[in-house]
Point group: C2
DNA sequence: CTTGATCATGATATCGATATCAGATATTGT
DNA sequence: ACAATATCTGATATCGATATCATGATCAAG
């Protein structure tokens, strides 16, 4: 058993103890940690050694009091609490917020009317910025109400950010294109497509990416094989039935999100269609369900947790910028990298009889 | 447009401004907020009014520096990152941690060997307490390593907490019993059961709850209708096939968790079995998938987010207690309330032909 | 070798809240 | 009405870190 902490109950090591141990002032330690200001190599090394020796970890709470990130309040306004991405957004967001010592207020809302009251509740609470996850990220009225109050807004995972709002997102077009290329390279020529909820911006953009992918492979668009969905499992079920219940069914189906892909897969299972030997299926988003179901889904991974983090960091930056300059600058747009997750639900196109 | 903040860029209202506005000292304001110490009614009212007038929200970062919650480091050691409950645990945990100004270290590990190194990394980092989500919550070696170092451990969502560890959990037995009663009340007499991974403690306890439920309804246990699963979707698929591919298939299936229930449902869809008219299915945990799939799953809701919060709060309490008394006291055990989510996947037993 | 500029370091004030203790006020008993 | 408590309230120190400014060290150029 190794001895930890000699005699104190108080456990945590402070910057001052590190400073004493290294024979420098606490400011030097602070500078070493924060890397912004140069510190002579000799001292830096000594400090780093002391930090290791004492297992020093900075106290973020204390840090944020002085550094001005503290006292910032960020609202997150969401409308679809069950959506699985919300958890992950929150996860990244809260982690980042706790790192920055920033406070986060959650506000839930439903219809347009309740959006109004939710927004005014946030304004009352004095939030300095608001993050809008989908589908609210595309709600012009909400954005307007907020910007009219002079509150910076950040849209998360929208496909087409409204003017004036900052955004953290992936390129839905490129994602859909990559996925479509993946299918065409596997030799698929009859590819079904399930659209998402028409009121969400990614719906159209993903469809456009799909079209581009067909075009690149010199494949015609088969109108019959494009069906409307709503981003829900149930709509995937129905769309799947429509697509698979026909003589000349597609050899691959591109569902605009994972939930619908899971629905299609359930239908396929039900019809005894083997995946991926007889049918390839792919989704979009890489939500938990994608790796839960069997076979695991080929899909486009959105780095949601990282996006949540980035969202907080970005809006904090905007807020500080606004405080300094006294006016709202240009919105910041950030495009994150997506990843094509090539898993087990897609394979070479079956030979035609 | 209403004016927020007269002229300052600095936005956030401090306790001192409230104090000035109310004509009292900041300590009085602090006391009103924290309610621990009585404040004369007259002042309290004035203070509360000022708080409202100024939209004051306490700065948690600042609070935690002085109050001693700060500087506490809590490790969360997890081994199964994809599990959907993990997100939610983290969600609750991080929220609470940020409220308390407590720092959280995440450590991931796989097999037993990597558990050792993960634990020592946490110890090196000087964590004051460790939270173990499932399935690590039942790992005796991990718990031993930690307690030997004098570090309090809290097991989250275990069915049978090891001695010496604190725990936040629901009563898996009662949950399974409630679910079974629900099925028997609906008239089901042939009920299939899918067990979970034998190495997880809830597996057995839920099974026992099921047995008790049968017993209460004077139903015999039908051995053929109990099949082994592994808590995964895929194992649910296989178990579902076994249970439904027989002449005298059950009229209801109790899967030990939601993922397996989803698998069963996929099989049922595939066989053209209508749910819930011809077959009732229920799961356990109320993970996101339960409300994603169609029809939505009847299941037992574990208040995971709240449990994550409570876990942080509880272990912080333990840590402070240990710091004060200088020794590890008795473990704290907390039983949360579960909720039976009666949704669409269960219905009255079909008439026998 | 000195001067002036540049760079690194440290002393001190500060962030926003709470702990602590002393002083002020109200309450009680006689 | 007065002393003795019991209750409130406020002044000040403090938490752990960083911002700021002043000072000491270092270096290039003359």
């Amino acid at each position: 058993m190794k001895q930890r902490r000699e005699s104190d109950n108080t456990s945590s090591v402070t910057i001052h103890e590190v400073a004493k141990h290294a024979g420098v002032s606490s400011m030097t330690v602070s500078r070493v940690i924060n890397k912004n200001v140069p510190v002579r190599e000799k001292l830096r090394t000594k400090v780093l050694e002391s930090i290791k020796a004492l297992n020093y970890i900075p106290n973020i709470a204390a840090r944020s009091t002085r550094s001005g990130d503290s006292g910032i309040r960020i609202g997150i306004l969401y409308s679809h609490p069950s959506a699985s991405y919300l958890n992950e957004i929150m996860l990244g967001g809260l982690e980042q917020a706790s790192k920055l010592g920033t406070q986060v207020l959650l506000e839930k809302c439903g219809g347009l009317q309740s959006q109004k009251t939710a927004v005014s509740r946030l304004v009352e609470a004095g939030v300095d910025g608001v993050i809008l996850p989908p589908p609210l990220c595309d709600s012009a009225p909400t954005v307007q109400m907020l910007t009219r109050e002079g509150i910076p807004v950040l849209a998360l995972a929208t496909a087409r950010p409204l003017p004036m709002v900052s955004a953290v997102r992936i390129d839905d077009f490129e994602g859909a294109l990559a996925l479509t290329r993946h299918l065409t390279k596997l030799g698929h020529k009859r590819i079904g497509f399930i659209k998402g909820d028409p009121s969400h911006t990614p719906t159209e953009v993903r469809y456009e990416g799909f079209l581009q992918g067909l075009d690149e492979a010199d494949l015609p668009l088969l109108d019959d094989l494009v069906v409307q969905g709503m981003f829900t499992y149930k709509s995937g079920l129905e769309a799947g039935r429509k697509l698979l219940d026909r003589e000349d069914r597609p050899t691959a189906i591109f569902a605009s999100n994972d939930d619908m892909a899971a629905g299609v897969m359930a239908v396929a299972h039900g019809m005894g269609i083997h995946i991926p030997e007889q049918l390839s299926i792919c989704g979009f988003d890489d939500t938990p369900v994608a790796s839960t179901i069997w076979p695991q889904l080929t899909t486009v991974h959105q780095p949601i947790v990282a996006m949540g983090k980035s969202a907080i960091a970005t809006i904090v930056e905007k807020i500080k910028e606004a405080r300094t300059s006294g006016q709202m600058g240009k919105p910041k747009r950030q495009l994150m990298k997506f990843t094509l997750m090539d898993r087990e639900s897609t394979g070479p196109a079956p030979h035609r009889d």
